[in-house]
């Protein structure tokens, strides 16, 4: 059943299968149809489903995101693609003030079953305005579900349940994951609730999500070479966070480093760290470490960009510090 495919192909296949399964599903965004998607996720879909259901939009992030909200309320199951997370800021009002708010503010009457896919993250030398990792901003908002598929399997399997969710779901796709190839089993369902242990270990918990997962797994292998057995927890769902899984792994290993491409201050890593403090303080043998992005606008030159982002060596160093080595 499993087949090796890229993350990009898996996401494209997920959209295609969802559109085949349900006439109400359609996708809209900038250059999703004729261009085939900025990251080629939607390539070929317009030919298969027509430009009514694979809908190119003008450069109007607030307008078409709001239109997605209205269409969702009107009975459709829209997928809105926002090219990159920096552009999502132009739609943040609609996401926060309308999509996330309507169900509660209307006393439960009006839900917004909308999926918004957003490319995120740095690593392609795109400089300060195209390299953000703002997942944490969205994870701050009650009324949203925020997903960060970090594997090919999740890239495929999380979309269908996201479309079934009666409330808005944001899916963050890290740009450095699109080209990764991993096995995919299209018949394996995914949940939208639980973090996943991607590597079991006993000495320290490395907690991460999205584009930082491959780096963290690599760091865990490097640590193994030095006799440190790291467990890697992939958060998968950034809101609501799987508190149980976080506390479980930390209670087992008694040490934790959180790896998060967001800026350090006010990061998701800070939230995870606070939860560990609240829920597992007496289990800890060392302070919780954080590996985040440097607090600068991400620079263009390769060496500076690399230095600004969480990297394997920094994860290894943070883990060793937590081990007292």
């Amino acid at each position: 059943m499993t087949k090796d495919v890229t993350y990009r192909e898996a996401m494209g296949r997920a959209i295609r299968d969802a559109m085949k399964a349900d006439d109400r599903v359609f996708i809209m965004g900038e250059d999703v149809a004729r261009y085939g998607g900025t990251y080629a996720v939607t390539k070929g879909l317009a030919d298969e489903f027509g430009e009514d259901r694979v809908r190119d939009t003008p450069l109007s992030e607030s307008g078409f995101t709001g239109a997605g909200i209205g269409a969702a309320i009107g009975g459709m199951r829209p997928i809105v693609e926002i090219m990159t997370v920096n552009f999502s800021l132009l739609a943040l009002d609609q996401i926060l003030n309308t999509a996330a708010t309507f169900r509660h503010m209307s006393g439960g009457q009006v839900g917004v079953p909308l999926v918004i896919r957003i490319a995120t993250g740095a690593g392609r030398q795109l400089a300060a305005q195209h390299s953000h990792s703002l997942e944490n901003w969205f994870a701050h908002i009650p009324g949203l579900r925020v997903l960060a598929p970090a594997t090919v399997q999740d890239a495929y399997a999380m979309l269908a349940p996201a479309l079934e969710d009666p409330d808005p779901v944001i899916i963050f796709e890290h740009v450095m994951l699109y080209g990764r190839t991993e096995p995919l089993d299209v018949s394996a369902p995914a949940d939208l609730h639980f973090a996943a242990v991607r590597r079991t270990g006993t000495d320290i918990s490395l907690i991460t999500y999205g584009g930082s997962l491959p780096k963290t797994l690599e760091a865990a292998e490097a640590l193994a070479g030095e006799g440190i057995d790291a467990e890697v927890l992939d958060l998968r769902v950034l809101r609501p966070l799987d508190n149980v899984a976080i506390l479980e792994t930390v209670s087992k290993t008694r040490r934790a480093v959180v790896v998060d491409e967001g800026w350090l201050t006010g990061s998701l890593a800070a939230e995870v760290s606070a939860r560990i403090m609240e829920g597992a303080f007496w289990e800890l043998d060392a302070p919780v470490g954080r590996v985040c992005s440097a607090e600068i606008p991400i620079p263009y030159p390769k060496h500076l960009e690399e230095a600004a982002l969480p990297q394997v060596d920094r994860i290894v160093a943070a883990a060793k510090a937590a081990m007292g080595r």
Partner: protein
């Protein structure tokens, strides 16, 4: 809007219909006068934006709609909700913040919702409702449903990006949206000519290639006639339509507004050509109404509002225990 809209392209100014229009406007006027009074008694808190002076716009437009059509409004939406058929008692209880309010008391004055009547707020972000209306219409078009979405907004929204994005999208995709700009001359305290290089709003709208008209928003019959024309064209598949209704807000922007930006004379001059006075005078002169008709309307409205206040007073507060409900359906 308790009557099913006919698809007539013109209003029929029968005795009965004129009295109906008058009653709708009086319902808004008296309901809001009561709200202002209840605000001073601290029964209603937060922001309270009164529609007094602008009643002809919501009243006239709503006549062109049927039950299946949708309404998107702003934070100055009590009148729209009332004439859409949302029960006055549910609206009043919402203003009180009580659990029997239309939005369970959680929204208050600015966030009236009634999904059954396809009344989608109650939006306090200026311009925020326009993309929503575009989306509702997109869903209708994609599903082949013969429905119209009406979107009300003030002229202040015209300066927001959403205005331009939404008009462009609706025109580009030929969506069944009726955009109704309630141009009352002031975005809170900023006069139109202090915020817009082009003060003819319909001219801006027309640049997006949709039919755009200017309407005397103080004349309920003119508004109804324009709305019927517009809805007729939209239902014929001609795409979106734009009405700029020129009107005036008699009361302050909200209860906190000292109105330093306009003169009392200016307000008084507009009040003289107010929608209720003007329509009443016309009806009397045309023999369409008599003092007894108007007295009966006032009586019926007073009793409806008194019942709404009694209902709101008697309603409970939502328990703090249920506060977390409905953040998400799966939570």
């Amino acid at each position: 809007m308790t009557t099913k809209a006919t698809d007539d392209i013109r209003p029929h100014l029968t005795h009965e219909h004129c009295l109906h229009l008058m009653k709708q406007m009086i319902r808004i006027r008296r309901f809001e006068e009561k709200c202002a009074e209840l605000y001073t008694q601290e029964k209603i808190r937060g922001f309270l934006h009164l529609y007094i002076g602008e009643e002809a716009v919501a009243t006239g437009v709503m006549e062109a709609l049927g039950d299946e059509d949708a309404v998107v409004a702003t934070y100055r939406e009590h009148g729209h909700a009332l004439v859409r058929g949302v029960p006055a008692q549910g609206i009043m209880a919402e203003m009180f913040g009580k659990v029997d309010g239309v939005s369970r008391g959680r929204g208050g004055s600015m966030h009236l919702f009634d999904a059954e009547r396809r009344f989608y707020g109650g939006n306090a972000i200026v311009g925020g409702g326009l993309p929503l209306a575009v989306g509702l219409a997109l869903a209708d078009k994609m599903q082949g449903r013969d429905r119209v979405t009406v979107c009300f907004f003030g002229e202040g929204a015209v300066a927001e990006g959403e205005f331009h994005e939404s008009l462009n999208l609706a025109a580009l995709w030929k969506l069944p949206v009726l955009f109704v700009c309630e141009n009352n001359g002031y975005a809170m305290g900023t006069a139109l000519d202090r915020s817009e290089s082009e003060t003819d709003i319909h001219a801006k709208a027309a640049s997006y290639k949709l039919p755009a008209e200017v309407v005397d928003g103080m004349n309920v019959v003119d508004v109804e006639a324009a709305a019927r024309r517009a809805v007729h064209a939209i239902r014929a598949g001609e795409g979106p339509y734009f009405l700029e209704c020129r009107t005036y807000r008699f009361r302050a922007h909200s209860m906190f507004d000292p109105q330093l930006y306009r003169t009392k004379d200016e307000v008084a001059a507009w009040e003289e050509k107010g929608p209720v006075i003007r329509f009443r005078d016309w009806m009397m002169a045309a023999g369409m109404a008599h003092d007894a008709d108007l007295a009966r309307i006032e009586e019926e409205v007073a009793s409806e509002i008194a019942a709404a206040v009694t209902f709101a007073e008697a309603s409970d507060w939502e328990s703090v225990d249920t506060m977390l409900e409905d953040v998400g359906a799966m939570a």
